[in-house]
């Protein structure tokens, strides 16, 4: 048996703990589990299956993440199949509370929760975030697009530092 004969629930827990240690290649401050892109982990006699969702259709990190998962599990003796899950599409609401804290600590303004909020993503993306460095509310958006598909660019008018914000999606 490819999972080494241990009970399925045990294997699945082990897989999750391995995945929790895989950093996002573009935002290494958070893990792929914090990012909310791991959709499921199942283990049975055929092996391990990990469901992954892309953040954006064309995110170049997706292929890298796929190989990282396969390699990391292989290093622990686990043979994994990856299933790409598109529906329902990934939303920034799935970023964990711990993930949001880590983003903030890394200098990236985390996305606001969209569930239950009025106006959806458009209204949320129009809110002006506080500066993650000096907490000033006097900030301005420089560009709706940033260095990766998932972020936009801002500047603080008080401390003059530029910063990024995770787009609400």
């Amino acid at each position: 048996m490819k999972t080494g004969g241990e009970p399925a629930a045990h294997t699945e827990a082990r897989v999750w703990s391995i995945l929790e240690n895989i950093a996002d290649p573009e935002i290494p401050a958070i893990s792929i589990v914090d990012l909310g892109i791991v959709r499921h982990v199942t283990a049975d006699s055929r092996g391990v299956e990990v469901g992954l969702s892309p953040t954006y259709s064309g995110c170049p990190a997706t292929d890298v993440i796929r190989s990282l998962v396969v390699e990391s599990l292989a290093a622990h003796g686990l043979e994994a199949q990856i299933r790409m899950v598109l529906n329902p599409p990934w939303t920034t609401d799935w970023i964990s509370a711990a993930g949001r804290e880590k983003l903030h600590g890394y200098g990236i303004v985390p996305p606001r929760l969209l569930a239950g909020a009025a106006g959806g993503a458009e209204a949320a993306n129009d809110e002006i975030p506080a500066c993650p460095h000096c907490r000033s509310a006097q900030t301005e958006r420089i560009s709706e697009f940033g260095s990766t598909p998932c972020k936009s660019l801002y500047r603080c008018r008080d401390c003059l530092e530029p910063f990024e914000r995770f787009k609400c999606l």
């Binding site: 170049p60 598109l86 529906n87």
Partner: protein, 259 residues
Amino acid sequence: MSETAPVPARGRERFEYLLRLGDTSLVLGQRLGEWVGHAPALEEDLGLANIALDLIGQARLLLSYAGELEGCGRDEDALAYRRDVPEFRNVMLVEQPNGDFGLTIVRQFLLDGFQRELYAGLAGSADERLAGIAAKALKETEYHWRFSSRWLVRLGDGTQESHARVQRALDDLWPYTNELFDEDAVDRAMAGAHIAPPLAAIESRWRPAIAAVIGEATLQLPRERGRTKAGKRGQHGEALGYLLAELQFLQRAYPGAQW
């Protein structure tokens, strides 16, 4: 040139339909990629590159699916790199050369307006895989629409020069919008099977949405004119050949080359 193998009749229309969607995204993504390093400001350079990336990602999902449906062993790369002009099914609007920044914005605006209605409809498709791709693409397209419609207002309601340029671009590109809503046998088959929304329904939402932004931009909606194009049936202009020459060069010169 043609490596197209026959497709069973049942899957043929859906295959054709997916090529139209995938090729439209691929060709526009390639066009936007031409701006990298040339846009008026770094922020817009990033914006256009990000939109290009989304479009190419959507094209990969759509063309992979098309290849599987065809069942002849062609994957996304075979479809993108080893078909010639007459086998491409993109609408002619997206193959139009970039022109100035204003024309690029107008082209983007007209297509974003179309794609957001299209993907909203496709998200409820009877084809679950296509519905999944569309639901994902819809979120991205809303963001593109925001970018292109804001720029259209800024340029249209800007200086005399910027206003004149985007009005000219709108006049030049308008005849290519007929094709978006030109329903043929493939479209009817897809709508009949509840795989795609009817084009007339998309048009009835697209028209007021773009007219509102065009009005806010103080631009004039051009009058209907021009012969309907048939890019989605493989009839293209000269520009697509040059685009494909650049897109496909590496795989044509070194078939099967990998990074």
